[in-house]
C-alpha cells in the first residue's frame, strides 16, 4: 500500500523525509507551513517571491504532551478503540518551532525539553501519511531503552 500525504506539499517522503517550508527570497525568512499567499510576514520586508526549502530533519524538543482522550472531529482516530498518542513541539535550526505527533511507540516518558528529535513519516490513519517527531536516542542511552 502506498500512503498519500495527508496534506499536499508540506513534507517529503522517502528514506530521509523533511518538512517543506517557504523561504522569502528578499529577507530569507523561512515559513512553515509553506505560505499559501505570496506576502512575507516580516514587517520590514515587502517580499512577494518565495522558494521551497526543506527544513532540517533534527531539532530540540521545546515541549511535549499527549492526548489521553480522543480529540474531537475533524481528528480521525487511527484505531478503534482509541489509543492515546504523544505530541511534541520541536525547535529547528531555522529558528522556528513545529508541532507534530510523536512517532509510534514513544510516549511522554521518552521525551524531555531540550532533547533531540528527528522527523519521520508514518501513517496518520488509513492510507494517509503525516510527519512525526521521533526522539533521538543518544549514544550510551540505548541500553536503557
Amino acid at each position: 500500500m502506498t500512503a498519500t500525504p495527508a496534506i499536499e506539499g508540506w513534507f517529503t517522503t522517502g528514506p530521509e523525509p523533511a518538512l517543506v517550508g517557504s523561504r522569502c527570497t528578499t529577507c530569507t525568512t523561512v515559513y512553515f507551513p509553506p505560505l499559501a499567499g505570496g506576502f512575507c510576514r516580516n514587517p520590514a520586508c515587502d517580499g512577494e517571491d518565495f522558494e521551497s526549502t526543506e527544513l532540517s530533519r533534527r531539532g530540540r524538543i521545546w515541549s511535549y504532551t499527549d492526548a489521553q482522550y480522543q480529540p474531537p472531529a475533524p481528528y480521525v482516530p487511527a484505531s478503534d478503540p482509541y489509543e492515546p498518542f504523544a505530541l511534541a513541539a520541536v525547535e529547528l535550526p531555522e529558528g522556528l518551532t513545529v508541532l507534530g505527533q510523536v512517532a509510534q511507540g514513544y510516549g511522554v516518558a521518552d521525551l524531555r525539553v531540550g532533547a533531540e528529535a528527528e522527523l519521520v513519516v508514518e501513517i496518520l490513519h488509513d492510507d494517509l501519511s503525516i510527519w512525526r517527531w521521533k526522539p533521538v536516542v543518544e549514544l550510551g542511552q540505548e541500553a536503557d531503552q
Binding site: 496534506i7 515559513y31 515541549s63 529558528g95 518551532t97 524531555r112 496518520l124 503525516i130
Partner: protein, 396 residues
C-alpha cells in the same frame, strides 16, 4: 490629559450551564450594571457588545442584540470580537469614544452560551484554517497547548504537578464565597491529582471548563462621574490590546508552528510580556504598584506563567510565590481572588469583562468573603487565538 475613564457600575449573571439564550444572561448583567451605576438605560449613548460566535446571527451583532433586548434607545452601537480578549476590546472601544468626547456614558456587555466538552472548530473542511488543521492533522486540542506550557515549567523550572494542583486549591478557596462563580467547592491537592490526566502533565481539575455567563460594565467620563456625585470612582487607567511583534517564537494556539527568528532576531519581550508592558506604560505604573491581579487561568500552570509575564515575579519564580502563600488572599500579591477560571469556567466574550467586574468590587472594598485588603491598583490579563490578548489596569 488623563486617559482615565470612570467605572460607574458593574454587573454579572452567575456562571453555570443554565441552558438559556445568551441574550437573557447579557440583559441580566446589563441591568445589574446600570442599577449599580445608578444610570438609566435611556441615558446610555453607546452600547458595545462582545460577539459570541456560537449563537448565530444575533451573536455576531451582539451589541445590537443587547440594545434591542434592553429596548431601542437610539444609542450608537458597536460589536467587538477578539477571541478571549473580546470583552477588553469592547471596553477599549467604549473608552476611546468617551475620551474623544463622542460619548458620555457607555454600556459594555459580553455574554455566552457554550457547548459541552472540548471546544472544537466549526464544521466543514477548511484546509487553509490552522484552527481546523490542528485537529485534522495532529489532534491538537486546547488542553494540549496548555500542557506544553505546563511541561516547560516542570522541565525548566522544577515545577511539579502538586504545584499546579495548589493553584487549583487556592482558586477554589477564593471562589467559595463568590456568588457569581459556577464551582464553589473546596478542592484538595489529592482531588486534583486523582482526577484523570487529560494531556500530560495536566489533570482534568487543572483545566478550566466552558460555561454560560455574562458580565457588563458602565463606563463614563470622569466629568460625568463627578456630576453624578462620584468623587473618586474606580477608573480604567489602561487597556492594552497589542498584537505580537514579529517573529512570535512562542507556540500559540491554534498554530502548528511559530515564526522563524533566523532572519530577524527574537523580540526583546514575548507576546504575553508585551501585553502587560503596554498596559503598565499606558497607566504610568510599575508591577510593584499592583495590589491584586485577575489572570486567565485556562490551566492552573498558566496562572504561574501569567504571574511572570505581568512582572509580578521573575521568570521561573512563580512557584516560589505560590508555595510561600503570596498569591493567596492575605499574601503580598493575591492572584484570582474571584476564584478565576478555575471556579468560573470560560464564557469567552464575557470573561475579560468579568475580570474588570471583580477588580472593581475589590478596589471598592465590596468583594464580600474574598476581599483583598488595601489594594488600590489591579491588573487583568488574558490571551486568545490569533494574536489577541489584553490587559486592563484599574485604579482607585
Amino acid at each position: 490629559m488623563s486617559h482615565d475613564v470612570a467605572v460607574l457600575g458593574v454587573g454579572m449573571h452567575p456562571w453555570g450551564k443554565w441552558g438559556k439564550n445568551f441574550v437573557t444572561y447579557g440583559v441580566h448583567a446589563a441591568r445589574a450594571a446600570l442599577a449599580d451605576a445608578g444610570v438609566a438605560w435611556t441615558d446610555v449613548d453607546l452600547v458595545v457588545g462582545g460577539e459570541t460566535v456560537r449563537n448565530g446571527y444575533g451573536g455576531y451583532v451582539a451589541g445590537a442584540t443587547f440594545a434591542q433586548a434592553l429596548g431601542w434607545n437610539g444609542a450608537r452601537v458597536a460589536t467587538s470580537y477578539a477571541a478571549c480578549a473580546t470583552g477588553a476590546q469592547a471596553l477599549d472601544t467604549a473608552r476611546a469614544r468617551i475620551l474623544a468626547g463622542l460619548c458620555e456614558v457607555a454600556l459594555v456587555v459580553g455574554a455566552d452560551t457554550t457547548p459541552k466538552g472540548f471546544l472544537a472548530p466549526n464544521a466543514g473542511e477548511r484546509w487553509d484554517d490552522p484552527d481546523w488543521l490542528r485537529f485534522r492533522l495532529l489532534g491538537m486540542t486546547n488542553p494540549a497547548y496548555f500542557a506544553l506550557y505546563a511541561r516547560r515549567r516542570m522541565d525548566l523550572y522544577g515545577a511539579t504537578q502538586e504545584d499546579f494542583a495548589q493553584v487549583k486549591v487556592k482558586n477554589a478557596r477564593h471562589g467559595l464565597e463568590n456568588p457569581y462563580a459556577r464551582y464553589r467547592k473546596a478542592v484538595s491537592v489529592e482531588d486534583v491529582m486523582s482526577s484523570a490526566v487529560v494531556s500530560d502533565p495536566l489533570h482534568l481539575l487543572d483545566i478550566c471548563a466552558t460555561s454560560d455567563g455574562a458580565a457588563a460594565v458602565v463606563l463614563a467620563s470622569t466629568e460625568y462621574a463627578k456630576r453624578l456625585g462620584l468623587a473618586s470612582p474606580v477608573r480604567v487607567s489602561a487597556v492594552s490590546t497589542v498584537t505580537p511583534t514579529f517573529p512570535n517564537t512562542v507556540m500559540d494556539m491554534p498554530n502548528l508552528s511559530t515564526d522563524s527568528s533566523a532572519a530577524v532576531g527574537e523580540p526583546e519581550h514575548t507576546f504575553k510580556e508585551s501585553i502587560a508592558r503596554a498596559a503598565y506604560e499606558e497607566a504610568g505604573i510599575e508591577p510593584a504598584d499592583v495590589g491584586v491581579a485577575e489572570v486567565y487561568d485556562l490551566s492552573t500552570a498558566l496562572e504561574l506563567d501569567w504571574i511572570e509575564d505581568l512582572g509580578l515575579s521573575g521568570r521561573g519564580e512563580a512557584e516560589q510565590l505560590l508555595r510561600a502563600g503570596e498569591t493567596t488572599i492575605g499574601g503580598r500579591i493575591p492572584v484570582n481572588p474571584s476564584g478565576g477560571l478555575a471556579c468560573f469556567g470560560e464564557a469567552v466574550p464575557a470573561q475579560a469583562l468579568a475580570q474588570v467586574c471583580e477588580l472593581t468590587w475589590q478596589l471598592r472594598g465590596q468583594a464580600t468573603g474574598r476581599q483583598v485588603e488595601g489594594a488600590t491598583v489591579g491588573i487583568t490579563a488574558n490571551q486568545g487565538l490569533f494574536g489577541h490578548g489584553s490587559s486592563v489596569i484599574l485604579s482607585v
